[in-house]
Every structure is written in C-alpha cells, then in structure tokens.
C-alpha cells in the first residue's frame, strides 16, 4: 500500500461524519452533507486512481464532479419547492 492509498483511506474516513450529517438533522443540514459527500468522494476517487496507477480511470471522478453539481442543484430546487 503506497502513500496515495493511505491518504485515500484517511480521507475516506471523513465520509463517516458526512453520512452522520446526511442521516440526521434538518433537510438543510442533510443537503449540505450530501454536497460535502460528493466532494470528498471525488477527491478519494482521484487518490485511488493515482494510487493504483490506473490513470485511465481518472474519467470517473471527472464525470462524478459534473454530475454532483447537477445533483446538488436538483436537490436544492426540490427542497425549495416541494419539501
């Protein structure tokens, strides 16, 4: 296990408080937790991609970064109008 994977594991552990924020509290806090989760997962996927040496997989966090932005906007709109 190289240092990239160690840092991916350590960064991935920060998803536990994100999950805590997504599962508890007001809908506003949950939306913030969701946006933070998408951000941390993108960073973890980049770390794993470089740590494993499979740089072709860098497309996956790139797609996630684009889709997470749209997902955040959709959830914010849904929260504003319907919840």
């Amino acid at each position: 296990m190289n240092f990239w994977m160690v840092m991916a594991t350590a960064t991935g552990a920060s998803l536990i408080p994100c999950a805590w924020s997504c599962l508890r509290g007001s809908p506003e806090r949950r939306l913030v937790g969701l946006e933070m989760t998408a951000l941390v997962i993108t960073i973890v996927m980049v770390l794993v991609t470089v740590g494993e040496g499979r740089l072709i997989f860098m497309d996956i966090p790139l797609a996630l970064a684009v889709l997470a932005f749209g997902a955040g906007l959709v959830f914010a709109r849904f929260l504003e109008k319907h919840l």
């Binding site: 960064t11 924020s21 933070m36 993108t42 740089l55 932005f69």
Partner: protein, 115 residues
C-alpha cells in the same frame, strides 16, 4: 527520500487535512448556512494540493489535465451550488429569498432594501 517525494507526501497530507477540516467544520457549525461555508475548504485547498501532487507525480500527463479540469469544475460549481442551496434554504424558511423591510437581518445590517 527525494525532495520531490517529500513535496508529494506533504501535498497529499494537506489534501487529507483540508477534507477533515471541512467535514468537521460542517458538522460542528450551528446551522446550515454556516455549514455551507466549509464546502470551500476541500474544494479549493484540497483540490489545489491534490492537483499539484499529481503534476509532481506524473508530470504534465493526461491525468494532470483531467485533475485540473476537476479542480476548475469544483471551483466553479462550488460557488454556484452554495448560492443555490442558501437561496433554497431561505426560500423554504421565509417564503422569499430577496430581502424585505420586515426581515430581521436587514435591520441588523442597518439598511433598507431597495423597492
């Protein structure tokens, strides 16, 4: 251990630290408006150091450019997404998002909104 390896490891540690700082700040803040501010730490500091680490590790490779694109997307989308979320929160709580004369924060700021 070369200076380049030390620099890469330091940048990766900075990435991990910024993620933890953002997440703990988000959890600890009093309300959702304050928590939103902590999204910026991993988006800016975390991805900057990560992009630099990949450039040092692989040179100007395809992975470096793609990580740079991810960094640019996150910088742009973080500000837009944060504004959209804060606007949705305010709309949900008050029924409007633009300031009105009877809003407490307008009086607190010492001004009146323009008609």
């Amino acid at each position: 251990m070369s200076a380049r390896a030390i620099a890469i490891d330091s940048l990766l540690a900075c990435t991990c630290l910024s993620c933890w700082l953002g997440v703990l700040g988000m959890v600890r803040m009093r309300d959702a408006y304050q928590s939103l501010h902590y999204l910026a730490i991993p988006a800016v500091a975390g991805l900057t150091s990560l992009t630099l680490a990949i450039v040092l590790q692989t040179g100007w490779s395809q992975a470096s450019w793609k990580c740079g694109i991810i960094f640019a997307i996150m910088i742009a989308s973080n500000s837009v997404g944060t504004h959209a979320a804060a606007r949705a929160f305010r709309q949900r709580q008050k029924g409007h998002w633009q300031p009105k004369p009877d809003d407490a924060e307008v009086e607190f700021l010492g001004g009146k909104p323009q008609a």
